[in-house]
Each structure stands twice: as C-alpha cells, then as structure tokens.
C-alpha cells in the first residue's frame, strides 16, 4: 500500500520529494454526498471485479455513488489498513457484508475477518454458540477455508456462512449423516454407514447433484465409511452392504466426479475379520503426495486396526502400521509437522510417528505403560491437526499439542527427545463442560466443537479477532 502521495509530485524512494509532471493518482469519490479521497493503489487492492477498481480508471469527473457514506468509510479503512476500524462495531456485520457485496469487496472482507493466518492456537476462547433447531445432536461437521461450517444433525444438514450470521438447513435422504465433507461453501459430499452411495449435495438449493456408487462384486449396496479430499481428488471409503468387502474410490473433482482409480480393495474370506478393515478416516498429505487411510475394528481380543499410506497413482501401500496394542481411537496427520498423531484407545495418551523416520514405532507423549492395561480411557477421543498444532479431545476438554523448538545442541543433557511436543489445555475454567466432545473442526480463524447431547455448535476463536 502506498503510504502517501503528493499531488503533482511523487515521493521517491531516496526520501526526498521530486517534482514530476505526471497525472495525479489521488482519486476523489463522492459517496452519498460525502467526499472521500484515496489513491489508485488503494482502490486496486479491491480486485479487478470490484466496482472501486473501475472508478480508478476514469478520473475525469468526481464519480458519485449513491450509498451510505459511513459504511463506505469503514470499507475504505479496511482497504487502507487491512483491518476493520472499531467504529464498524456500530453496524451489524450483515450490513457490512451487504455493502461489501455492492462494492465487490466481499472476498476482501472475508479474508480480513476470517483468514486462516489469523488463527491463534494459544489464544482460543469460546466465543459463539450456534444453536441448531430440532432435537438431534450434531453427528458430523465440515468446515471450509473461509470459516463456513456445515453441520449434519439427524437427517438434516445446516450450513452457516463464513460470517456465522446466516444459516440454511436442507433435508437429506439419510437417516443420519455419518460423514460430511465440504467441497465448496455451497457443495458438500455426504454419506452414511447405513445408506448406499455418496451423495454430492447442493446445499443452497437442497438437492442431490450426483450419487456416487461403488460397483462391488456382491452387487449389494455400498455404504460410505469415510470421505477425504485433496485439491484434485475426492476419496471415499466404501464398504459393501454385506460388510465383506471394502475399497477406497478416487473421484476427479475437476472432471465431474469421474471415477479415477480404486485402491485398497479388500475382501473378507471366512472368519478372518481383521483381514480387511474398512478405512474410517482418510487424510491427504499434500507434501508427500500420499493418502492416509486408517480403520479399526473391535473384536474379542480388543481393538485392532491399521494405518496405511497409499500412493494413489500406483495404488500401492507406501507404508503400513498394524495396531495391536493400544490401537488408535482416532488418528490424524500433520503435514506441517511431518508427523502422524494418534490417541490410544486404551491409554488415552497421544502418540506420534515422525514421517521422516517411518520405520520407527510410535513415540508416546505421555505414560505409554497405560496402553497395556485393559481400560478404555481414550474411547471416543478425537484428534485433528491444524497449522503447526495438534488438537485432541479428551472427554469434554480439548488438549493442544505444540512442538517446542529446542535450539540448543545440548538437548541430550536435558534428557529431551529429539522432538519435544507439549500438552496445553485449551480454555478457562468457565469454558469447561462435562459433555463429551464429538467433533473437532478448523476453518478460517476458528475452531468448531460439537458435544454429545448438545443441539448446538461451539465456535472458538481468538478474542481480538472476533467480530
């Protein structure tokens, strides 16, 4: 942004003012009777689609815009400094969005209010409760980068827009939606473990745009166990209706959900139920070009599972880990930290495996001995990564795991491991709740939490960034 300019003069970089005969780059606009002056550079920040950038090109006469000058002054401040001024609090966010849409500044407003770079993991506070109508508790959530949230509760999906001021609810074919993934603010993929097919739903108009199926050999239905996506592909873990075979289908997001490949096809023969566990979590790891697929299965000898990293181009397993002792209750992968994290179902402790040294076993970040006891302290715990942090739910609390950078070469003197991860409890005393956390999601500068038996969604963001 240019700091300032001088009419008929230009500010040269050597610090002096040099006289220069060139046309002015100061632009005068009359908005609702009030004159505003700004520079061409400031207005071009609004983007080429904006009404304001068209003003900057023709400057013969003072252009008049018949809108409210006060809201315009707020939007102009936003363009100048990148932040909303405090007087914007006098207006409802809805007014600002409406005016921003008129000027073509809506995207600029989104990025300044709900930018993922504003996410401050250590400064999260419970700031909003979004109520859900009806009696169903949220079963699955999905977020987009701009911070909009889709919440499946019962057979309904409620979508909150990025400002969290507006919502819309649609009805689906499912009895209960078990997995949902936002593909865009108005498009989501949804599936259920008791209903055949993956549905691509238009959330604005509330209809099924497409149903994607897996043609399995038994010709039975194909239920959805998990959904994941990369920038190009949509991954879906299907299981046959008879529950004896499963696969991961890869669909092309750029080419109308054309099936591209089928990986991880597994069949169960006889009684060996552990031979093919369907994946219940799919996570794309962009910097490694690998898909993490993890599934677990409770049997008479405890919970067993496996975590596999798939190369989707060749359809081969890059790395595989079978979980027999203290199997994961949930597992996630952090691309930024280059590590896989799990929370053990028996111990309830968090483990990590360094992606750069996959041959090594899990490193427990707590008391690893607890894993051998038969307790199920970690049952139902969720673990998700966002940015440089890993978030893990334990009952009603959220733990934040962060890496401590040890610059000193004398780390061994302190008996520290090569990588140090430390646990932090999120929230204050008043925020703690008894109800067990069922979902964790991250979008924009927010953390989204849903709880058991609560017909609402909690929004956590840093106190200074909330509108």
């Amino acid at each position: 942004m240019p700091p300032f300019s001088v009419q008929n003069q230009s500010y040269s970089s050597n610090g002096g003012f040099v006289k220069k005969k060139s046309e002015t780059n100061v632009i005068t606009i009359n908005v609702g009777g009030q004159l505003f002056q700004t520079t061409k550079q400031t207005l071009t920040l609004a983007g080429s689609n904006s009404l304001l950038s068209t003003i900057s090109t023709n400057s013969n006469s003072i252009p008049f815009i018949d809108r409210d000058p006060e809201i315009f002054s707020i939007l102009l401040s936003l363009l100048r400094t990148g932040n909303l001024p405090s007087k914007s609090k006098l207006f409802d966010l809805q007014d600002l969005i409406f005016e921003a849409q008129f000027y073509g500044l809506a995207e600029f407003l989104v990025s300044s209010l709900s930018n993922p770079s504003q996410f401050e993991a250590f400064n999260l506070e419970k700031s909003l409760i979004l109520p859900l109508s009806g009696r169903d508790s949220p079963s699955a959530i999905s977020t987009t980068n701009s911070g909009s949230v889709h919440v499946a509760h019962g057979s309904k999906i409620t979508s909150f827009d990025w400002s969290l001021k507006k919502k819309s609810t649609i009805l689906t074919h499912f009895n209960a939606v078990d997995s949902i993934l936002a593909l865009s603010p108005s498009l989501a993929a949804a599936g259920a473990t008791d209903f055949s097919g993956l549905q691509i739903l238009d959330l604005k108009r509330g209809f099924v745009r497409e149903t994607l199926n897996w043609e399995n050999q038994t010709k039975s239905s194909s239920t959805v166990q998990a959904i994941g996506s990369s920038s190009d592909y949509l991954f879906t873990s299907f299981e046959s209706g008879r529950r004896n075979s499963n696969t991961i289908m890869v669909f092309d997001l750029q080419d109308n959900f054309r099936p591209v490949a089928e990986i991880a096809h597994g069949e169960i023969y006889g009684t060996d139920l552990d031979s093919a566990i369907p994946a219940t979590k799919l996570k794309w790891i962009p910097s490694y070009n690998l898909l993490m697929a993890a599934g677990s299965h409770g049997g008479p000898s405890g919970v067993m599972g496996n975590i596999r990293l798939w190369d989707i181009r060749s359809g081969n397993v890059h790395w595989e880990l079978n979980e027999k002792i203290d199997c994961f209750s949930d597992v996630t992968v952090s691309d930024n930290l280059s590590a896989i994290f799990k929370v053990g179902v028996n111990s309830g402790e968090v483990y990590f495996a360094d992606m750069r040294m996959l041959g090594r076993q899990w490193i427990c970040l707590g008391d690893g001995r607890k894993g051998y006891k038969g307790k199920k302290e970690g049952a139902g715990s969720k673990i998700e990564s966002h940015g440089n942090q890993v978030f893990c739910s334990k009952g009603g609390d959220v733990e934040l795991w962060s890496e401590v950078l040890i610059g000193s070469t004398r780390a061994s003197e302190d008996e520290l491991d090569e990588r140090v991860f430390k646990k932090n409890l999120i929230g204050r005393l008043k925020d703690s709740s008894e109800n067990k956390i069922t979902n964790l999601g991250f979008g924009g500068n927010r953390m989204i939490v849903t709880r058991n038996d609560q017909q609402s969604v909690e929004v956590w963001q840093s106190s200074s960034k909330g509108y």
């Binding site: 002056q37 520079t39 002054s73 007087k87 250590f122 610059g407 430390k422 999120i426 200074s464």
Partner: protein, 468 residues
C-alpha cells in the same frame, strides 16, 4: 513583492490532505513528533500550495494531530480502540507522544485502583511473571506457556516452552526470557519472537557427581550477567552467574549445603546496580515458626559481604518474630521486611548495616494497628513505596515528604512512613491469597493463589465520578 510577503507569512504553516479531509497546522507542531517520524519528514519538504495527500482515515488523524498540538488525547479518542490508535500512531511515527499521553500517571500506592485483570486464554493461572522491561509491559508464565502483553497491555503473543510449570521468569533482553521450574532442571533462555529455546544452563561439578539436575528457584539479571539460584535434589545450592554475551556460566557464588534453614537455596535474588551486589534471601516455615536469612554477595570476589539470620542469636531486638518476607528498595538502598508474628514492617539502611540494623515502622493510627496473626505476607518495594500483602488484602507504606535542609539521609531513623490500604474490603473478598507482586512501569501486577489472571493496579488522574 506581495507573493514573497505571503510566503513568509505562510512559511511555518502546512496543509495536509488526509483521506479527503483538509488539515492545516504548523511545521513546529509536526516537528514535535520527533525527527524520525513521517510527519516531521513531511514538514521538512519545500513549502508548496498543494497539500500533501496521505491515504489514511481522517478521523484518527485528527485525534493524533490534537495529541501533537496539546500533548494529550481528546475525548474523541475513546471512539477508537487502543489497538487502532497504536497502529495509526506507529504509522505516523508519533508513538512516543501517544505513549506519554495514554500511559498512566506515576504509580502512587495511596491512590491506585484495579484497572483490569489480564487473563491468558488457556491455563490462566499465572505461575510466575516478569515486568522487568520497565515500560509497563508484562510477560506472564502460566503452566508451560509464556504470554506477552505489551506496554498497552495488548496481547503480543504466547509461546510454549518445554517446561510444564514455569515458577521463575525474568525478561533478560527485550525479546528473551530466562525461565526456570521447581520441577525440572536448568535455566532456559527462550526467544519470544520465534518461540525457540536459544540456550540452557545447568549446574554441574566435575568433582562432585551429586551436582546434577539442579532446579532454578529465582533469577535476576544485571546489564552483563544473569544470576540464578540453583538447588540439587539433596538441597545443595549455589548462585550461578551466566555471562550475557557468551551465554556461558561465568562463576559460581555462594555454594551452601542446604541442610539447615540458614543454608537453603535463596528464593529471592535482586541485583543492586549501584553497588554491584546481589541480595539473596530465603524464608522457611516450620513447626517452630518462620526462619530465614538475608545475604549480600559480591559477584566480583564471589564473597559474602553481609548476612543476617532470623531467628538470630539474640542480636535482634525482636527475637522470636522473624521475618516472613523481605525485599530491597533498589533506588534508595533500603531493605524492608515484614515480621511473621506481629506483622510489623521493619527497614534497614543497606549503606549502614550493623548487627541489628532494623528500625520498625510505627503505626500511630490505633484503628490500623496490627493485630498480628496474619500469615503468608508478601512484601514488594517499588518506586520508594512498600507494598505489603496480608493474606488477601493489600496495603502500602509510603513516605511522607519532609522538607529538611539536609538532603543527606542522616536521619534515616526519622523517615516517616504512613500505612494505607490499597484495596477495599470488597476488593479482597472472594479472592485468593496474594502470591506475588511486581511493579513495572507505572503499574503494579498482583497474582493470587488459585485465581485466573493477573491483576493490574494503576493510579489515575480521572475522578471516576459516577452520575446518578
């Protein structure tokens, strides 16, 4: 001719166009922003009829121009947030004027009130804090995290250290904190901007294998060194001097076995810049009451200069009433202690230390006379005032200004201190016991046992009148 006349007339006038609004001011007003500011740079240019255009919000500029003209903030400043004003002041380069206008007046214990309570977003119980930068900023250690709050008490960031409970912290450079824990070994230096640990120091002794995994109990620093008291598992302790330029251990001072209350690890260290001495003290409480020591060390010779133990060997005029806490007033080289049984405050002149240097401050007001029996007193000296906590309550001893011809403190004994409560009765109800106090800038920070957040006490020149 006429043109020249008008030119001289307008020589010191300057027009600015800020976001479409015209402002006219004088060059001298703009120059008062300081030589490095944007506004001073603008005033330096050749005078011209065209106003300089600045593409910023005109309303905030009018506030800052008012500030430059009158050196205080107009009431319209309240329409903007602290954050906004700080950012704009930084943009125009007038932050020093802005700071001077927005910072509280000098802290006066007899007229201070609770301004706000800073609460970190998570793990909000402060385990230690440091206001060492002196500009009113504070770094709070809570659990294993350190949260920084700048001079305006705006949250500057939070970092996580590898320690699980930081119990001592000291800001040794503007961006570096020295931290220690009473549950983990070593002194660790963390860079606040990157969140990275840059160095750590451990107390080791090649001739004694028992000296390992020593924990840090207190930290202080001078301009060239960091001093920390270390204690091993078997209670042996010492003060280590760490050189600030090499970050290596420079010397070991005052190694003591720690097997009695007279030789335990110092829990309070203060560097006295005027004399270059280190003030160390510790108090232990046992079945027979409190006992403690005060020692002054010279880090250059590594020798002890003076010491006193309480309960002493009959030297103290108040045998059996040993101190519960002691602190040193760095500016005036005076020690203050609070007695554990009577609750009385005693002072001693560091320049004239004797066997029993204590002079007890008298309370003449019978309604304020100590009843004794309070426990857990904390004493903190700041800006020639002595803040003393009594469980949950907070009182201050301040000196009555005396007009005397001899400025030299010949009459140390005759200094007159009066005692006042800082807080109100309702302030301390339902609150925890005061655990730590520290002054920084013109603020007093107070942390309490089992209470989330850190209290900030400031003096104010606003009456705070309430209208009905």
């Amino acid at each position: 001719m006429e043109e020249q006349n008008s030119r001289t007339q307008h020589q010191d006038r300057i027009k600015l166009n800020v976001g479409g609004k015209l402002f006219e001011t004088t060059v001298s007003t703009l120059l008062s922003a300081g030589p490095d500011s944007l506004l001073a740079a603008l005033s330096a240019r050749e005078w011209d009829n065209d106003p300089v255009f600045i593409d910023r919000d005109p309303e905030i500029f009018s506030v800052l121009l008012y500030l430059l003209r009158t050196s205080h903030l107009p009431s319209t400043a309240r329409r903007f947030s602290k954050q906004e004003l700080t950012e704009e002041a930084l943009y125009y380069g007038v932050e020093s004027q802005f700071k001077a206008a927005i910072l509280p007046p000098p802290l006066s214990g007899i007229d201070a009130s609770l301004i706000e309570t800073i609460r970190p977003a998570s793990d909000g119980f402060p385990t230690a804090f440091t206001a060492g930068a002196g500009d009113g900023s504070v770094w709070i250690a809570h659990g294993g995290q350190i949260s920084g709050y700048d001079w305006n008490l705006l949250h500057a960031g939070t970092i996580r250290t590898h320690l699980d409970s930081i119990t001592s912290i000291r800001r040794v450079w503007p961006e570096v904190a020295a931290v220690g824990s009473d549950t983990a070994a070593g002194l660790h230096l963390y860079d606040f901007s990157s969140g990275r640990r840059i160095e750590s120091a451990q107390w080791t002794d090649s001739s004694d294998p028992r000296i390992y995994k020593a924990r840090v109990l207190s930290i202080t620093d001078s301009s060239t060194s960091v001093f920390a008291s270390f204690e091993c598992a078997h209670k042996e302790n010492c003060i280590l001097q760490i050189d600030k330029s090499t970050l290596k251990i420079a010397s070991e001072i005052g190694r003591l076995p720690g097997n009695s209350s007279k030789t335990v690890v110092p829990k309070k260290l203060t560097y006295l810049p005027e004399s270059g001495l280190i003030f160390s003290s510790a108090v232990s409480s046992g079945a027979f009451g409190y006992s403690g020591f005060i020692r002054l060390w010279d880090p250059r010779t590594r020798e002890m200069v003076w010491e006193t133990n309480e309960p002493g060997s009959g030297r103290s005029s108040r045998f059996g009433d040993s101190f519960a806490d002691v602190d040193v007033e760095v500016e005036e080289l005076t020690m203050f202690k609070v007695c554990s049984k009577s609750g009385d405050v005693g002072m001693a002149d560091l320049r004239n230390l004797k066997d029993d240097p204590w002079i007890y401050l008298e309370e003449k007001n019978p309604s304020l006379r100590n009843t004794g029996g309070e426990e857990n007193n904390v004493i903190h000296c700041y800006r020639k005032q002595v803040f003393v906590s009594r469980e949950k309550g907070l009182e201050v001893w301040s000196r009555v200004e005396q007009i005397e011809e001899d400025v030299e403190n010949r009459d140390f004994e005759r200094r007159c201190y009066r005692r006042n409560f800082v807080d109100k009765v309702e302030n301390c109800r339902e609150k925890g016991m005061i655990r730590r106090m520290e002054g920084g800038g013109d603020r007093l920070f107070v942390s309490r046992e089992g209470v989330e957040g850190l209290e900030v006490w400031e003096s104010s020149d606003l009456s705070g009148a309430v209208s009905f």
